[in-house]
């Protein structure tokens, strides 16, 4: 647990000082909302369109973070140092997933209000409790799958290409569940309740991939 805390602290400190990922991700999502406004030629969106715009933006913003996640470890010898330390290798997985989860949460704290302000028809306030639940579950899934695919891709020559290609198909079921769960929340007539079925699917998907990553992650760090 100490190793996880130390690694997480290092990642957050690094982000706080260098500001490599989070500002880029947040700015990217704002720009994407503007692009959606012109591409769809609409001033407001609601229902399934709103949920689609929100999730596509968040997913692609997450890809930016996923691409950068292990770059510093590889380029500045973080992997070697970690391999020398007498700690469990799973610590790296947990710490990186937690870091990505925190990055995503910060990005959403900026992106979701911006989305409500710029594009959403009606108020976001009635949808907020349900939306937060969906966002938290989806963030866990994106963090776990993103860490796994980033770790697979970081040793390749073309990691910026390989990471999204691996991560996006794995994220499709997550996107289905999140988009379906968000859809009734963003209807123009006022929010309906969150479909529990999709919340359950999200939770289950998170759990399965957390176990899977836990099982295979050790092999990605062996030297």
């Amino acid at each position: 647990m100490n190793a996880v805390r130390a690694l997480l602290r290092k990642d957050l400190l690094l982000e706080l000082r260098a500001k490599e990922s989070v500002p880029a991700m947040a700015l990217f999502s704002l720009t994407t909302f503007v692009i959606f406004h012109f591409a769809l030629d609409r001033n407001t969106v609601a229902g399934s369109l709103a949920s689609g715009v929100l999730w596509v933006t968040l997913l692609f913003a997450a890809i930016l973070g996923i691409n950068r996640l292990f770059v510093a470890e590889r380029e500045q010898g973080g992997f070697d140092a970690f391999m020398l330390a007498p700690v469990d290798r799973t610590a790296m997985l947990i710490a990186k997933a937690c870091a990505l989860f925190i990055f995503l949460t910060i990005v959403e704290l900026i992106a979701v209000p911006a989305f409500a302000f710029l594009l959403l028809e009606g108020s976001i306030l009635p949808a907020l409790p349900g939306l937060i639940a969906v966002l938290v579950l989806a963030n866990i899934g994106i963090a776990v799958i993103g860490t796994l695919s980033s770790a697979i891709a970081v040793q390749t020559r073309a990691r910026d290409l390989i990471a999204p290609l691996v991560a996006l198909p794995l994220l499709v079921p997550l996107l289905i569940a999140s988009a379906r769960a968000t859809q009734p929340l963003l209807l123009s007539g006022g929010a309906l309740s969150v479909p529990t079925k999709w919340i359950a699917v999200l939770g289950l998907y998170d759990l399965v991939f957390a176990l899977l990553s836990y099982a295979v992650f050790d092999f990605l760090l062996e030297e």
Binding site: L148, Q155, I162, L165, L212
Partner: protein, 249 residues
Amino acid sequence: MYGKGMRPLAIGTFFVLTGAFALVFFWVPADADQGFIQKIFYLHVPMAIVALGGFIAGGVMAICHLRTGNSKWDLRSYVSIHMALVLAVGALITGSIWARAAWGHWWVWDEPTLVSFLIVFLLYATYQPLRFAIEDPEKQARYASVFAITAGAFVPLNFLAVRMAQSLAHPRVLGATGGSMPSEMRITFYVSLIGMALLFITLWKYEMASKHTTAQLRNLRRRLLGDDSVAPTGRSAAPSTVLPARPKP
């Protein structure tokens, strides 16, 4: 070593597949709704099932590779996924043709099996680029195995998720092995499925034998003529099968 039993297997595959096609064209009754085009079912569905089976088999072989550390398992897993990818392309093309004939569109988004198959195909399409992008052979094998295991576990999960997204709106009319199928159709379908599975195994063995023989040839050449006689293998997506150079006495 992989060549052993190739001939009877190949002959058996030939006869079962020919028999399956004979049954399809001359014996099984045409579908009442769709007529002749429905016969593509006996090609399309076995291809898809065998491709998915090949993906999952590749994942299981990858588990064996990580557990034992024996690079033979990596080669087996690679060949299995490679062959499954070829069959998957076939299944997508035949499925598209069938969709065009039966529903009037080349692609139908509300058929969950089709959509999940495409997602699985897109994921596995990254397998070869991933391998190609890692230069160190040992690392390449290990990372490819991790990918194969993750993707193998993803196959059933993805089918479940996509089906849930649509099953309420669209009942499955064309249930593949539903109990409503007449017995002639069912028998023909099973024969086609066995034929396709045999074809997969034959092709798998064939590629394994070919890779193995090439490697042996290289090693013999090197022992007889010295290290300079063999051209260095370039970067490749296929696992390296060449034994390490022997130290000179």
